[in-house]
Amino acid sequence: MQIRLPLPAFVSILHRISGAILFLLLPFLLWLLGGSLESAASFNVFKGWMNHWVIKIVLLGLLWAYLHHFCAGIRHLALDLHMGLELQTARATSYAVFGASLLLTAVIGGLLW
């Protein structure tokens, strides 16, 4: 038997996965913040790392996880207010969540570098 995951369900499971990733990377983010504020020297070390492509990919992935969780969360809040409950609309807003989070990742990522 094969069950196809509908798009809204895909958004939903990614909401979960992105949330768990963000939780697990919290210490990394606090460490980055702490280090960047410690001294001009440590700030420059971190800033230098940000230009490395591996770190860039990790940070972009993290940014995407945040933004997907953000957009899917706003969709969730709307659903709680009984907005967009119809199947057609729910499907359309699922596409919107994917589109908006990818677009925002590109825009914010682009502005940061």
Binding site: A20, F23, L26, I108
Partner: protein, 115 residues
């Protein structure tokens, strides 16, 4: 006879609401944070440090982080509840998550107000 699972009942609605209130606070903070980043004159240590030294920034970030910790606790607890069945493991994970979040809170205060 009604079979009842032992659980800390009655927290459902409160947590449901807390998850949404904390989410709204974080949305507002996130938007303001991006605006502040864009308004930075240059991305160098003095402007970065100045941005984080403003009292409003410190308290707003603390509020954001407290919301984040509550939000993360509810979310992670729900994930554990769904996928981890053995009680001993579930309680161990809950305990580790609570300890970690308190530690992150202390660490965040140290970062925001330290030095």
């Amino acid at each position: 006879m009604v079979r009842r699972e032992v659980s800390g009942a009655h927290y459902g609605l409160r947590d449901w609401l807390a998850q949404r209130v904390t989410a709204v606070v974080m949305v507002v903070y996130s938007v303001l944070f991006v605006v502040m980043l864009l308004k930075l004159p240059r991305f160098d240590f003095p402007s970065w440090k100045a941005m984080w030294s403003a009292p409003t920034m410190r308290y707003a970030t603390l509020l954001f982080l407290l919301c984040l910790f509550v939000h993360a606790w509810i979310g992670m607890r729900n994930i554990v509840m769904d996928y981890v069945k053995p009680t001993w493991l579930r309680l161990t994970l809950y305990s580790l998550m609570i300890l970690a979040l308190f530690a992150y809170g202390a660490w965040a205060v140290q970062i925001l107000w330290g030095r």
